[in-house]
Amino acid sequence: MRIIEIEGLRKSYRVYQKREGLMASLKGIFHREYREVQAVKGIDLTVDEGEFVAFLGPNGAGKTTTLKLLSGVINPTSGTARVMGFVPWKRDNEYRRRFALVMGQKNQLWWDLPAQESFRLHQQIYRIAPSDYDRTLGELTELLSIGKLLRQPVRELSLGERMKMELTAALLHSPQVLFLDEPTIGLDVIAQHNIQQFLRHFQEVRRTTILLTSHYMKDVAALCRRVVIIAQGEIKYDGSLSGIVDRFSGHKVITLQFAEDEPPREADLVRYGQVLEVQPPRAKLRIARAEVPRVLADVLARYTVEDVAVEDRPLEEVIAEMFAQSETRSD
């Protein structure tokens, strides 16, 4: 069942220019120059209930803006969107009680009070029945292992612990849709891992529809099957993770280990393709896909090879290249 439907969503901003110099500042009192920045340039997307979708993209791609549009925090310039049948920017109280937004490194809990006091406030605001509240809080406390931390003032918690509190607060009212904006940013590896585990488990059990934005591959790889790549306000790709490499990468990486007494030098290998690394007895080459069989055959014939590995390029590289390409294309 479709739970999120977005059509032709656009959002542009006016950014005021400030120019250098005294005269320019004085002139600025009377007349300001601005330019239009298009944060989101026409997005079409549908998400079914229970899906876990990742938005990947470089900074400034429009991922956060899209989430904010879907949360009703900002109004679009044009286009439509419906989440659970509601138009987000109308900000119906009914809608707001059914979803949650968590933003990485942004804190909405009361800084000087223990988290549980903020949770109690949440209970009042969302009108959560006491039995539901106790049950959900108990579950979340256990899953996230935050029992001892509930009574500590939030300012005394570490970044990872605070993130867990934010997540708890967001899930107390059992939202049907969860938006996560860079939830693991700034956290250490262990904390990131914990949160990823938690999210995966939670989603499997509760079947919440989750939209996650990140620029960490690990988040995405660990959690989602469906990846939407956004760059410069547009969707560049929408499908599975493995599909990205197939679609966008025209190269493979071959790692060769030569038998010791006759390793070829860089100059010898260059004719096959791009040499990434030469550390005798190993060498790494970047070869166009179509060339792989021919190159392998040639190398194996010419040299004594102890070990061969043929791999896809790392996903990060593929994506980074894709972002860079689309940037140059639009210039």
Binding site: K68, V73, I74, R91, E94, R96, Q108, E117, I125, P153
Partner: protein, 281 residues
């Protein structure tokens, strides 16, 4: 699950949380109480000094020493309530807008203006409220027990007084929140905030002092256009002057002004929200 938000319970939780927070910084709380009390005391001293040189403020205005102190006490009551319940929030609103923290307020399934206006309270400002009550009691007693022309006031005055104090609080709040909301359009807003102080400064004196070529138009403007003069003048008059003639008219007007101010501030707030751009992540 189709329930309306429980605004009463939510407000109580806000108030409770703020009290807990203030109590956890006890020394600071005490220092803040002492600070606001000393400020009020110095102010009182200033007026005591003035009354060394004159018997009343304005000729035939009716604001002699103790009447004026009733006025001053009323000013303390109104301002301490505004400072306790609304000032911390309106100050923070500009910061929320600038940092994008307003996003979180917009996510909650309750009225945004309610949330943003009441979430924090500054309990140390209530110390001035107590001082105001004390001053009010003392001055009223002086007025009621003086030898010449003692003041009489009945239950009507006692009933209307808190009503008009609350009206004054609402008017000042409306002005404050409207100004804070404009930081959505105008960015950093220290000037606007100072503006509030300058404008409400006019409300701290009896309206009779505004006369003459410059004074009368000011008096009119600040009564009928931006009704700050209504804030302290009306409740104070209710206490020390009979409810007749101009006083009765002003009292009725004050009620209308309160409703209108609140409506205007709400309109401005909603327009501002429509233009909200959030902060870049």
């Amino acid at each position: 699950m189709n329930q309306r938000p429980a605004y009463g319970a939510i407000f109580l939780t806000f108030v409770r949380n703020s009290l807990m927070r203030d109590m956890s910084f006890r020394t600071n709380f005490v220092i803040e109480c002492i600070s606001s009390l000393s400020w009020a005391a110095m102010n009182l001293g200033f007026y005591l000094l003035i009354f060394q040189y004159t018997d009343e403020i304005g000729q035939g205005s009716g604001w002699g020493k103790h009447e004026f102190f009733v006025f001053l006490a009323t000013s303390m009551l109104v301002n301490s309530l505004v400072q306790t319940f609304f000032m911390p929030n309106c100050e923070e609103l500009s910061e929320l807008i600038r940092s994008g923290g307003l996003d979180f307020a917009l996510l909650k399934p309750i009225d945004t203006q309610f949330l943003v206006s009441l979430q924090k309270s500054d309990w140390s400002s209530l110390s001035n409220f107590l001082l105001g009550l004390g001053l009010l009691g003392y001055s009223q007693w002086q007025l009621a027990t003086r030898a010449t022309d003692p003041l009489t006031f009945g239950p009507v005055a006692l009933l209307l007084y808190p009503v008009y104090v609350l009206c004054g609080v609402v008017i000042l709040y409306s002005l404050m929140i409207a100004l804070s909301a404009t930081s959505i359009w105008m960015g950093r807003n220290q000037t606007l905030y100072d503006f509030w102080f300058y404008i409400t400064n006019f409300s701290r004196y009896p309206m009779e002092i505004y006369e003459g070529t410059w004074g009368s138009p000011l008096r009119w403007a600040f009564t009928y256009m931006v009704p700050v003069l209504v804030v302290v003048n009306v409740p104070a008059r209710v206490m020390v002057q009979p409810l007749r003639g101009e006083n009765a008219f002003l009292a009725l007007f004050a009620l209308a002004a309160t409703v209108a101010s609140l409506a205007a501030s709400r309109w401005i707030f909603r327009r501002a929200l429509e233009s909200y751009r959030s902060a870049s992540s």
